[in-house]
């Protein structure tokens, strides 16, 4: 009851704040500032077509409104009885066709440019995963770097228990970093359902389709941070998997690559290490917060029936093997993804241990070696 009341009051309050909010954030109503030639071409094409449309629209409806005004019955206008005119009818079939051809030329040019993904400087594979993006630098400087990128906006902000930050819903833990003025080719694919990767400022959008690889390219011309979101409905958290691209100078990029490679080397876990319960559980909590909490919830109660509880569940309290397999391979035909490829043995052992020893569960520790053994 109180919660509902709180919502209603906040609704009324926001209603009052409409005008204020208009001032707080600059009102966006047009394409974002182009950050690449492609985006600029799209913008130009759009404006060109819009002007044509506005002219035609005004022209046609000038006739309509003139008729509404001058040919009213109330001013005594008598109806003429003509009902065809071959010349006029031919004209208004042919002229629009010609206008379309005029539009087709510039449009075709941009289509062809947009499709030309040849000879890139850097190629990055992007994998859409419910509900985050994985980036793998597959070619060019930085080859071998890979990381997962996901929303960092805290739940409290989303649920209205904390003020919303400037980049609400548009902030991630690991941004895609690319150098300025280099041709970047993005390969898209997905692990589960169709997602769509989009950076408006570069005019770059491509669906990420499970089992297939598609590509797009862009050449950023300015440094800075470019933010966007997944644009294909991909399930429950579709609104919460942003895309953030950080464009840096060549120097900074090289530094970032060196840094990242060092980090990755340091992060290599030794899967034969034997862990203690507390340290493994602590690590598991982080993995859980990053990968599992959206569906299974922080209290382990899930949101049944689509997203089952783990607290007291058969899998999380039964034999270890079943639990490890579920996390490694997912459950077919449900939103439960296979984490085998995204997480290493230590992470999986950690999260399984966490789930088996949290809430009311007490089902013992799982070591990385045991996870390794169950990988096929």
């Amino acid at each position: 009851m109180r919660a509902t009341l709180k919502r209603v009051i906040s609704l009324l309050a926001t209603l009052g704040a409409l005008a204020a909010s208009a001032q707080a954030h600059a009102i966006a109503w047009y394409f974002r500032e182009p950050g690449s030639q492609l985006a600029r071409d799209i913008d130009t094409l759009h404006q060109y077509v819009m002007w044509l449309i506005i002219i035609i629209f005004v022209g046609v409806f000038a006739f309509m409104f003139y008729a509404c005004w001058a040919h009213r019955k109330s001013v005594g206008h008598k109806a003429a009885q003509f009902h065809e005119n071959t010349t006029v009818e031919l004209l208004w079939t042919v002229i629009p066709a010609i206008i379309l051809i005029i539009i087709a030329f510039p449009a075709t040019k941009v289509v062809i440019a947009q499709k030309d993904t040849s000879s890139p400087d850097i190629t990055v594979k992007v994998t859409g995963i419910q509900w985050k993006w994985a980036y793998d630098y597959v070619k060019g400087e930085g080859e071998g770097i890979s990381f997962v990128s996901m929303l960092t906006t805290p739940r409290e902000q989303i649920e209205g228990d904390a003020p919303k930050g400037e980049n609400y819903l548009l902030e991630v833990d690991n941004e895609l970093v690319v150098p300025v003025n280099k041709k970047i080719r993005i390969l898209t694919t997905a692990a589960d359902v169709v997602h769509s990767w989009w950076v408006p400022s570069f005019g770059a959008k491509q669906d990420a389709i499970p089992g297939f690889i598609r590509d797009l390219w862009f050449r950023p011309e300015v440094t800075g941070t470019f933010r966007s979101q997944c644009v294909e409905l991909c399930g429950k958290e579709h609104g919460f998997m942003p895309i953030v691209v950080h464009v840096v100078s060549q120097d900074e990029y090289s530094k970032w690559v060196a840094q990242k490679q060092k980090e990755m080397a340091a992060q290599q876990d030794d899967p034969s290490k034997t862990w203690g319960l507390d340290e493994l559980k602590a690590r598991g909590e982080k993995v859980y917060a990053a990968n599992c909490v959206a569906c299974h919830q922080a209290n382990g109660k899930g949101t049944p029936p689509a997203f089952p509880p783990l607290d007291g569940s058969k899998t999380a309290t039964g034999p270890k093997e079943g639990h490890i397999d579920t996390v490694l391979n997912g459950r077919p035909n449900t939103a439960m993804a296979a984490f085998g490829k995204q997480l290493n043995d230590t992470d999986i052992a950690a999260v399984v241990t966490y789930e088996r020893n949290s809430w009311s569960n007490k089902a013992g520790i799982v070591q990385p070696a045991e996870v390794k053994a169950r990988r096929k």
């Binding site: 919502r7 609704l11 954030h25 600059a26 009102i27 966006a28 109503w29 047009y30 394409f31 492609l38 071409d41 799209i42 759009h46 449309i53 006739f63 309509m64 509404c68 009213r72 019955k73 008598k78 109806a79 003429a80 009902h83 065809e84 009818e89 208004w92 079939t93 629009p96 066709a97 087709a104 941009v110 289509v111 947009q114 902000q157 989303i158 649920e159 209205g160 919303k164 980049n167 609400y168 898209t188 359902v193 005019g203 959008k205 491509q206 389709i209 499970p210 089992g211 297939f212 590509d215 644009v231 409905l233 991909c234 399930g235 579709h238 609104g239 919460f240 029936p305 689509a306 035909n333």
Partner: protein
């Protein structure tokens, strides 16, 4: 064909609407369940449509309520997706399509001088399938996992993750498809075989023409949708992998099949609306429809072209460049016949003798706003621009201009236009005009600003959004509640007309000239034409 006309005596003279002696002896609910009369069935279609419009409208309001402010306030993302899906399905298949079948049932026999539809029992069955389908759709909310949260396009492979609600939705789509196909066969047969002597095809009112073509589109397109959802069903339960790459299938195949149905579907919704407008504008211009023949050709051209443009909904799936160019050129081509229609309507008004009763106001609202929606369609047909705008709120704005300001406005125009003929009474003209103006203003408040949202980068189907989109979303949500309330006024106007409207003359609209106005009393008799009129 007259075998379907039952054998009751009909007394033309009393002209009232003493229906009791006309419907096979049943009364109460049984009358409606057993009726084979095109007017009864038309009435049921229209009321069903209105109920679904309310249900779908409530879901739209739920969506707009959640989107009033950034943050999750009222629903969780899962419920939000369910509302999105069911709003779309219910509005398209439950509200708009049945509304125009309702018009077809009422009007086609009267306009071509026939006593009833060709297959009267089939007609009853095509209607009575609908409530089952509607119930299944609504029931899906109460299954474990709820209604599917996949969008009305039901894209694979997300559909495979859904609960049993998805299966109910699939069956509902099957039933809706059956209903549409049966209805279409009936309409085609009626128009081709039951015209009055002298009523050649090229003398038919344009409404009949647009429905004839629509019916063919339905017969061609609905089985394709049925195929797509059946493949989804077998992928879900029987181990097939039509849409699963791991088994040699392709998720994009689903999209191709869906849109091969989906684009003609757009015209299945639009063409009957064009038909209504082509009756209303000449009537209130007191001038014959300009370019009748070119209207027929344009309608046919649109119908044929509608089968070769489907992939314009899929520019971002990654087609080869030749594919993108083909679908871009084919799509822009549709602008030509659509333009012809708009020009013809304006030319019909030109040098007419215009009055602006409610039906005409809605027709003009249609003309202006549908054209706007058509122009944003042209913008979206250009591959590079669409790649920027696809799956954003710009698209939501575009298709609501076509479906609400297009189809729904035209349905309102039709209801106000024919209500006197159907009920024998006049609606309240003042209130009708208030309904129009409020609908017009709130409609634009909801949807015009969504163009801005889309261009600025707001994806569609998201339950929460970044702060920069707040202002337009607030305006849009306020508009939505205004729009919703305004439609209660419409309900009131119709009920008031039925209960206590002034008696209407045979031909309340000076410029109306089709058979239902010129040859039938008001209200129209139960069996429209017992002896067919001769058309010269």
């Amino acid at each position: 064909m007259s075998s379907v006309v039952d054998s009751h005596d009909h007394d033309h003279a009393h002209g009232g609407h003493d229906h009791h002696d006309h419907h096979g002896g049943y009364s109460g609910v049984m009358r409606w369940i057993t009726t084979t009369n095109h007017k009864d069935i038309g009435t049921m279609y229209l009321w069903f449509s209105f109920m679904m419009f309310m249900v779908g409208g409530v879901m739209a309001l739920a969506i707009r309520l959640e989107l009033f402010s950034p943050g999750m306030q009222f629903f969780n993302p899962d419920q939000f997706n369910q509302f999105i899906t069911m709003h779309g399905l219910i509005m398209v298949f439950g509200a708009i399509m049945p509304a125009f079948v309702g018009f077809a049932n009422w009007q086609i026999p009267m306009m071509i001088g026939a006593p009833d539809m060709a297959f009267a029992r089939l007609n009853n069955w095509s209607f009575w399938l609908l409530p089952f389908a509607g119930t299944l759709l609504i029931l899906s909310f109460f299954t474990p996992g709820g209604a599917p949260g996949v969008g009305w396009t039901l894209y694979a492979p997300l559909t495979v993750q859904m609960g049993i609600g998805m299966d109910l939705t699939i069956f509902a789509v099957h039933i809706l498809g059956m209903s549409s196909i049966l209805g279409s066969i009936n309409i085609i047969t009626t128009i081709l075989n039951m015209r009055a002597p002298g009523m050649t095809l090229m003398k038919m009112p344009l409404f009949c023409w647009t429905w004839l073509i629509t019916a063919y589109l339905l017969v061609a397109a609905m089985p394709v949708l049925a195929g797509a959802v059946t493949m989804t069903l077998t992928d879900r339960h029987f181990g097939t992998t039509f849409f699963n790459a791991a088994g040699g299938g392709d998720p994009v195949l689903y999209q191709h099949i869906f849109w091969f149905f989906g684009h003609p579907e757009v015209y299945i919704i639009a063409l009957p609306a064009f038909g209504v407008i082509s009756q209303v504008i000449p009537a209130f211009s007191r001038k014959p429809l300009f370019g009748y023949a070119s209207m027929v050709y344009a309608t046919s051209a649109i119908a044929i072209l509608s089968f070769i443009v489907w992939a314009h909904h899929m520019y971002t799936v990654g087609m080869p460049v030749t594919g993108q160019l083909f679908f871009m050129y084919a799509t822009t081509l549709i602008a030509v016949p659509t333009g012809v229609k708009v020009f013809n309507w304006v030319a019909t008004m030109w040098k007419g003798s215009l009055t602006f009763e409610t039906p005409m106001l809605f027709a003009l609202g249609f003309l202006f706003l549908f054209t706007l929606g058509g122009f944003t369609g042209l913008v979206l047909s250009l591959v590079p621009v669409d790649i920027q705008l696809h799956d954003t709120y710009y698209v939501v704005a575009h298709f609501h201009y076509v479906m609400v300001a297009g189809a729904l406005f035209s349905a309102f125009a039709g209801v106000y236009f024919w209500l006197p003929k159907w009920t024998g009474k006049m609606y309240d003209e003042k209130l009708g005009q208030v309904h129009f103006w409020l609908t017009l203003i709130f409609f634009n408040m909801i949807f015009f600003v969504q163009h801005f949202l889309g261009m600025a980068g707001m994806p569609r189907r998201i339950p929460d959004y970044p702060l920069m989109f707040e202002t337009w979303n607030k305006i849009s949500s306020i508009g939505a509640f205004g729009f919703g309330l305004t439609q209660l006024l419409f309900l009131y106007i119709v009920l008031k007309c039925i209960r206590s409207g002034e008696p209407a003359p045979q031909k309340p609209w000076e410029g109306a000239d089709s058979l239902e106005w010129t040859h039938l009393p008001t209200p129209a008799p139960y069996h429209s034409f017992e002896t067919q009129p001769v058309v010269k």
